[in-house]
Structure formats: C-alpha cells, structure tokens
C-alpha cells in the first residue's frame, strides 16, 4: 500500500483545534475520524509503497517498544531522512494507517486525558529535531535508523536491542538530542562502550548515558570528534565511564 499523509491544511486544523476535537481522541472515535478524513483534500496519497508493520501489542511497553522499533524501521527503511523529518507524514500515519498502534501506546494517556502527551504523540510540538524522538511513531523509526549497525550483517539490530531494552523514551531524547550523536561513528562508538559496561554491571542506568554525552560535550569543545574512528570513541568513553563510576579496567582486547 501507499503511505497516506495529511495536507498542510488538515494538519494545521487538527493541531489548532485539538481542544475542540480532543474528546474524539479520548474515545478513540473511529467513526468521527473516518468522517473527518473523508473531507476533500484532507488526506493525500504519496508514491511511497510500504507494508504495514506487524506491530506488537504487549502490556509491557519496554518489551513492545523494542520489537516495534525494528518492525517500523524494517517496514519503512526506504524512507529518505528528509521524508522521515516530515510532520505531515508521521502525523498522517498516526491518524490513519497506524492509528491502532498509537491508541494502544497511548492507552493510559487517553484514559487520563493527558493532553500534553497526546498532542506531542500525534504532532511535532517539541521543536523539529526533538519531536523526531518524542512523536510516538517517528521516534521508533529514528531510533531504528540511528542504532542500526549495517556492519553487523548477522544482527544489524544488536545495538537497537540494547538501546531499547529499558527506559526507551528518556534514553532516546537524552541521547539523540546531542549534536555529536548525529555522527554515525560517534553514536556506534558510544553505544558499543555502553553495551560492554552494561554486560559487566548487569544493567546500566540513565546516568551512564548522561555521563557519556556530557563527557563528549566537554571534549568536543577542544577536539573535532568526527576525526575519530568508532574504536577511538569506544575506548575514550569506556575509559571515562570507568573513571567516573569507579569501575575496574577491562582486561584484554576491547
């Protein structure tokens, strides 16, 4: 099937008048949404073909988030990054072809009428870049894109599995809001260092992510980190985290 997206007019109407429409969201009122989107010019069809991902709907979100990052990225891997930054596309998928998943993932927020989260889940209201890691669907694709390790042919999602195993929402925003993680070598290097420490400690905490990005911000003021290889970054972060958290040095090869 082809991806459907919202016209600019429709997007603005839904955003502007959310407070008038919100009861339809709370009630997951499919009839109302169907009628609304039947309006002429409200929904546009793109030329982008895709297969609807087989979403997971477990009660435990940490389980389903991990699986759904891979599902959505597999299904939409062919999107260009510029397409994947478009609010009309993600808001369209959230209201139309992937609405079931969105209602499942926002179950508590809809019951509690948490308008702020419902809004940021459907629309880009947190700034263009940050929204990519806050929007309920865009964040799945972007975490998949940023953690996909094409060099590991047998399991390109090994870092995705690690990144999404816990604290997915906060980790995504903290980690990918940093400018440095836009560089693939830096991102993979940090994640590899964290991955190894995670295995030693059983489970790392949010602070390990915070300290890793904080350290890069500090050294990034004096160095062009982009000159470093994935292995350089991994060693650098490993050394710093061991010092900060008073962990024993690793024996042998990284």
């Amino acid at each position: 099937m082809k991806i459907k997206f919202l016209s600019e007019e429709t997007l603005l109407d839904l955003r502007t008048n959310y407070s008038s429409y919100k009861t339809h969201y709370y009630r997951k009122d499919n009839n109302w949404f169907d009628e609304y989107f039947k309006g002429e010019g409200r929904v546009l069809e793109s030329q982008i073909e895709f297969e609807l991902p087989p979403f997971h709907f477990e009660e435990n979100y940490s389980e389903s988030d991990r699986k759904n990052v891979k599902q959505i990225y597999e299904s939409l891997k062919h999107l260009t990054v510029t397409q994947a930054t478009q609010e009309r596309l993600w808001s369209g998928l959230a209201h139309l072809q992937m609405q079931d998943y969105v209602f499942y993932r926002l179950k508590k927020e809809l019951i509690n009428k948490n308008d702020k989260r419902i809004n940021t889940a459907f629309f880009f209201l947190s700034g263009n870049k940050r929204s990519l890691f806050v929007h309920i669907l865009a964040r799945l694709w972007w975490v998949g894109y940023m953690t996909y390790d094409s060099k590991n042919a047998s399991n390109p999602y090994w870092l995705t599995d690690f990144f999404t195993e816990k604290d997915f929402s906060a980790r995504s925003v903290i980690f990918f809001s940093s400018n440095f993680t836009s560089n693939r070598n830096i991102t993979i290097g940090i994640l590899k260092a964290l991955y190894k420490i995670n295995h030693e400690l059983d489970h790392i905490k949010r602070d390990h992510f915070v300290q890793a990005t904080k350290y890069l911000n500090k050294v990034g003021g004096a160095l062009i980190l982009d000159m470093l290889t994935e292995e350089d970054v991994e060693k650098m972060i490993d050394k710093q985290l061991r010092k900060h958290f008073e962990l024993p040095d690793r024996v042998g090869v990284l």
């Binding site: 603005l12 008048n17 993680t181 004096a222 160095l223 000159m227």
Partner: protein, 281 residues
C-alpha cells in the same frame, strides 16, 4: 553552529596571536545542483611548520558539515589544497553548517614551530588526534523544500478558525505561523478577505500578529530558528539589508519591522477606505 575558538594549545586563527607572519584561509561555498548539494573550498596555508604536518599526513585540511534536523554530521578531509564535496539533497533539510579547519590526524608530541608566538617559549606542546590546528571560514545555508516560496509571506502564515477561542492568538512553534481567530471573526475574514477592504482586513490581523512575533523573537530566537517561517523571514530581512537579529533593537522596533515586512500596511488600508468613501459619495 558555533565552535569554540579558545583552546588550551596554539591554534592559527585571525582572532588570536598564537603565530606570527602566518595565515590560514578558505573560501567555502554551498550550492544546490541537480539533486545534490555541492560544498567546495580552496585552502591557503601560510606557515611552513603546519604545512609540513600536512605533507607528512599528520594533519589534514577538513570541512565539517552538519545538518541538525536530519542528524547529518560528517568530516571530509584532504591533504590537497582544494576540496569538493557532493551530498545527496535528500540527506539535508533546514539549516546546514560548514566549517573549514586544519586538524591533527594523529597524536603529535613535542610540537615545535618557528613562527609560534614567543609567549609559548619552551612550553611542551602536544596535540591529540582530532585537535584543531587552524581555523578557516564557516558558512551556513538553508535547504528549503522545493514547494516553499522563498520570499512569499503568505506561504509562512496561515489564518485558521479556532472553534473554542474568544480572542485572536498566534502559534509560532511550527514551520508555519498559525493565527487562530474565533469563529465569527474567522468567517468574516474568510468571506471578506478578497473584498475591497482586503488590505484593511489583513492589516488588522497580520500586523498585530507580526508585532507579537517580532517581540518574541528578540529573546527566544534560538527556539524558532529551525522553523521555515523564521528562515524565510531571515531572507526577507537580508534582502532589505537588515537582519532578523536586529529586530527589537533601537534601529528596528517590532512595530517598525512589522510595517516594513508588510510594506506600509496602514497606508494601503487608508487608501482603500478613502477609495470606498469616494465611491459611496
């Protein structure tokens, strides 16, 4: 995108005197060309010691490219004095930043250079891999989507009906500025926007909204600069030899800025009213 220019080691840069009789220049340019964005520069390095580092491949001329929105960040390097980079346009959207540097490719111990300022004397200097040795120029460009008309104000402002508001409001946290009107006001606006009073109607809605926008920009530019409307306004101001950053200063108050952008809206409104009165007489 700002890079630090204060370093704990010598860096060749026009704003410091770490080196004598030395110079590092580049002439970065960014241009879109048939589906790709081309970034090119010449490098002119005038310092024998640093030049030797390049020839010995301990340092390289580099261009750092970053596009925050699409999470694109890459360093391109060469030991030649010219570099041309082509990036597929689909990887870039919004603002892109390019900086030229001379960067250490390997750790450099016991660095010596005859042209270092005497202040460094016998200080032992070493560089890490990735250290900046010289800073060239930087440029910034905006990749707008093809359908965005660069100089078209209506394309970045949308007037909408708000079903529950009783006063006009302006929302700035999106690529388009959204002005919401209460239902009655919106219906009147929609019915009369193309009438003989169209300028007066636009003035009563757009002028105060722009004043509010320009008042807000002064202290919160960082929150808005990623949005298309901000980038378009920036180009509109640049075309008139002003800069958006000046809005809110003595030279350019928010009220004056709004009137400049709308090209004397009060005059257009009164001329319209005068014409209408004349017709009625």
């Amino acid at each position: 995108m700002k890079f630090n220019t204060n370093f704990p080691y010598p860096v060749l840069h026009p704003e410091n005197d770490d080196y004598m009789d030395s110079n590092f220049e580049s002439d970065l340019s960014i241009r879109p060309e048939f589906g790709v964005v081309k970034i090119s520069t010449n490098f002119h390095l005038q310092n024998r010691g640093l030049d030797e580092l390049v020839r010995n491949e301990l340092a390289a001329f580099t261009v750092h490219i970053q596009c925050p929105l699409t999470s694109f960040r890459q360093l391109y390097e060469t030991t030649e004095d010219y570099l041309e980079i082509s990036i597929e346009k689909e990887k870039l959207r919004g603002r892109i930043f390019a900086h030229a540097f001379l960067v250490a490719k390997e750790p450099i111990e016991n660095y010596r250079n005859d042209l270092l300022n005497a202040w460094y004397g016998d200080l032992e200097i070493s560089y890490q891999k990735g250290s900046i040795l010289a800073i060239g120029d930087s440029v910034e460009s905006t990749m707008l989507e093809d359908h965005t008309d660069l100089m078209n104000l209506p394309a970045i402002i949308s007037v909408r009906k708000s079903l529950d508001a009783d006063v006009m409001d302006v929302e700035m946290l999106s690529n388009t500025i959204v002005i919401s009107l209460p239902t009655y006001e919106y219906n009147q606006y929609a019915a009369n926007a193309l009438s003989r009073l169209k300028n007066s109607i636009l003035t009563s809605i757009i002028l105060p909204s722009l004043v509010q926008i320009f008042s807000s920009i002064k202290d919160n530019a960082g929150d808005y600069e990623e949005y298309t409307w901000y980038q378009v306004l920036q180009k509109i101001f640049e075309a008139s030899n002003y800069s958006l950053e000046e809005v809110g200063t003595e030279r350019l108050s928010p009220l004056k800025a709004a009137q400049l952008v709308l090209r004397r809206p009060l005059k257009a409104s009164f001329e319209e009213i005068e014409k209408l009165n004349r017709m009625e007489d």
